[in-house]
Symmetry: C2
Subunit: 211 residues, 2 copies
């Protein structure tokens, strides 16, 4: 096996280090965050640092680096407390990735990439019409991590919209049925295939598949 110790890591070329460290945690969602400013300016940006925080109440977390292109998204969330999360599917992965370009403040990434803003009755922020799994969130908490200034935004889930084919009888959502892609590192996208679901593990039983 190849071994990098902390000196090797810190001495490495900056781009090499960034790719290496960003891909260590492996698979993550390619989630499009839709927001709108109070002046009506739409924003769409891809985020892969999105994760489950709790089921009751239902909460999701998103990590922001304040010095990046993500700043319009964070500004809008702070301004009106709402945002949408939209899973990326295989047929618009290129457009989803393109939202990471540094567009001007007055340019909508929806228009620039060709993704379609979708407004739902009574909800302020735009969804991505092409997405098979759309979530509406309200800002619940914002925490700055003392260690490096990364900002953890916790969203309270208010609405979930999902294609029928992805939802199974016990509430589990199979993203592969909606051709949802996974992201790795800063620029790689994957098409996952379901291997199996396992039954709840117990000490005195062997692993059992649920298929």
């Amino acid at each position: 096996m190849i071994h990098f110790n902390i000196s090797d890591i810190l001495d490495a070329d900056k781009f090499f280090r960034r790719n290496l460290i960003n891909s260590l945690a492996g698979y993550k969602p390619a989630m499009l965050i839709g927001t709108k400013s109070n002046q009506g300016q739409e924003n769409l940006a891809i985020f892969s640092q999105v994760f489950h925080i709790g089921a009751t109440p239902p909460l999701l977390g998103v990590l922001f680096r304040p010095d990046s292109v993500e700043r319009h998204t964070l500004q809008n969330i702070r301004e009106n407390k709402h945002f949408t999360l939209n899973q990326t599917a295989l047929d618009f992965t290129d457009k989803a990735h393109q939202t990471s370009a540094r567009y001007a403040t007055d340019q909508s990434e929806f228009e620039a990439t060709g993704l379609t803003p979708e407004y739902k009755s009574g909800l302020f922020s735009p969804f991505v019409k092409e997405s098979p799994l759309q979530i509406y969130c309200e800002l619940a908490e914002e925490i700055a991590l003392p260690i490096n200034g990364t900002i953890l935004v916790i969203g309270a889930i208010k609405d979930i919209f999902i294609t029928e084919e992805m939802l199974t009888n016990d509430g589990f959502i199979d993203p592969s049925r909606g051709k949802v892609v996974a992201a790795v590192g800063l620029d790689a996208y994957y098409k996952p295939e379901l291997i199996t679901r396992y039954a709840y593990a117990k000490p005195d039983k062997k692993p059992e598949t649920m298929n």
Copy 2:
């Protein structure tokens, strides 16, 4: 599309809600955390809430629910400040899932599941020998999220061990080359296949693949 509003979610059957909310964020890593108590008791547990926090210095975050089977892992990390992160590969996914069973305090999940503890020179905590991507971390920060008591453990990356086939020239690690699996929800595992890597996105350029 099927629509769940917050009342539908809160009124749903507990297991349905747990499955639904846990699968919203989609793909995530199936990471085995290896620890050892100061008395020498080994512990191994699967975690899917593991994510990138920063590249310089290199940091990873792990979310813990304090009331769960994960408590031995957290106790050990607090006790001696070290832990390993090991990506799960296809040929031991069943054993990795089985580590989530509530084994007795004096039972090692390595022994119970048949995974092999591996000790590396100078490093306290056990790795999973079968894993193609192993990371050694030191506890850097622990933050309790006020909203629901979830604990965010931030680990400073000290060592990375990786099979040669997974590492690409620019530092990107392709987990699919090591047959690393993705997790979704509480019990589902996926085999991802690389679609493409995209070049750094710029406003005046169309998305370009790097293959």
